[in-house]
Symmetry: C2
Subunit: 250 residues, 2 copies
């Protein structure tokens, strides 16, 4: 079962090294067009995109994320959940205000932005462009709010660094479907799971084979490392969400 | 600027009427494969998919969403944010526990599930399948938790009804890019926005031209209607999130 779109989807890699070639205006417009034609919750188009071209703002994003390579990408997009634009369209009533500040509408904005960013990744790859979705912008939401003058009812979700690839990384192996695709009921892992053990060996081989950042690590080790990180850096996410007017009806 | 993948992306429509033809096992596996090869936050693969084939569970989903047509789809997937699988991989420590219950990790699961569902939509469309992402499953999260035995640290995000299209709806016009794509700074709507007025006329024309559900409505009317809905139905989302162990470090 194959076609050009499936080939694009199944060959995804995140790209972090780019040539110096910048995206053209036509490419940028096409990528935004692809993002826009995704499904949007209740047809409310509750997300926005900021193209970041100002070198000082890109440098600030490099600081916030710790990934200064983003400053050398061919183009950088910031995706926002955005209920502010829609709030501007309507007359404020108690029902409207309650709705806009609800967790439901916050999630709808997150869904829209997340679905849109994936379409942009795929559209870019179909044009020979590589990209990395950067959740690390969430390291300092208050600074992003200042930097991009984000009004209430907006929230930064991802950065997307796009460009012409200057690396060809290996495809990172995903877990076998039986560990994450179930039928009719959720299936917890069993204690002695041979499929997981086999996948852990696949991941060890992947890390040992790849040219850079060699390390001996299983998927289990990787998750343990991730979850042992100090969560303090992101502990203020709820405060930032409430500052922007979300999660208020608790 | 065109290629088969861009054509697929730009021609997206949600499909709600399907032929009686069910998806094959190969199609289902390919769709899950496409979903799996999307970017995943910190390579943590923190989402799961449940294929719903039990007619009673499909009927319950029809009740919850109010969209009984989903029972006639060619296949139905339920997407979950899932930190539970990863919690099973690691030894519980105070840091691990704080991390797993954080808003940060909740959002990471939502991001993964949302990005994955869009890849599945696109993969399906490349195979001639249509689909609708169904956020309406959130109408009754406690019932979903019971129905699918969802453990703590999982949360239902979307349903995806997929099948062979038995309708060819018009493409729904998205807002002009200048209303949602900015450079370096967020741009609020101006009070007298000619672009918005023009878009409102486009939406009026769209609703009047389409064969079913004819109505006279602008985008502004549409948003006003959406935001005037009683938010009570979704008011318990935060409770459900906390019940599943999320948003606890508030």
């Amino acid at each position: 079962m194959t076609n050009p779109t499936l080939t694009t989807l199944l060959n995804h890699r995140s790209i972090r090294k780019f040539t110096t070639k910048k995206l053209t205006t036509a490419e940028i417009t096409t990528l935004v067009d692809a993002a826009q034609h995704t499904p949007t919750s209740t047809f409310s188009q509750q997300y926005s995109i900021i193209s970041v071209t100002d070198p000082q703002k890109l440098a600030a994003l490099g600081d916030i994320t710790g990934h200064h390579w983003l400053e050398k990408s061919g183009h950088f997009f910031l995706f926002l959940a955005d209920q502010y634009r829609n709030s501007q369209l309507v007359t404020a009533t108690p029902a409207t205000i309650a709705n806009l500040h609800s967790t439901d509408k916050f999630l709808a904005g997150i869904f829209d932005a997340s679905i849109a960013v994936e379409a942009m990744v795929v559209a870019g790859e179909s044009l020979g462009l590589g990209s990395t979705i950067m959740g690390s912008i969430l390291n300092d939401v208050p600074r992003l709010i200042d930097l991009f003058h984000l009004p209430e009812l907006t929230f930064p979700v991802f950065g997307l660094a796009v460009g012409h690839p200057a690396e060809t990384p290996e495809r990172k192996p995903r877990m076998p479907q039986e560990l994450m695709h179930f039928t009719n009921d959720y299936q917890p892992l069993t204690a002695d799971n041979a499929t997981l053990a086999a996948y852990n060996r696949v991941i060890t081989d992947y890390y040992q084979a790849r040219g850079s950042h060699q390390r001996t690590e299983t998927f289990t080790h990787h998750i343990a490392t991730e979850l042992a990180r100090d969560p303090q850096q992101r502990a203020k996410l709820n405060q930032a969400l409430e500052y922007q007017g979300f999660l208020q009806h608790h």
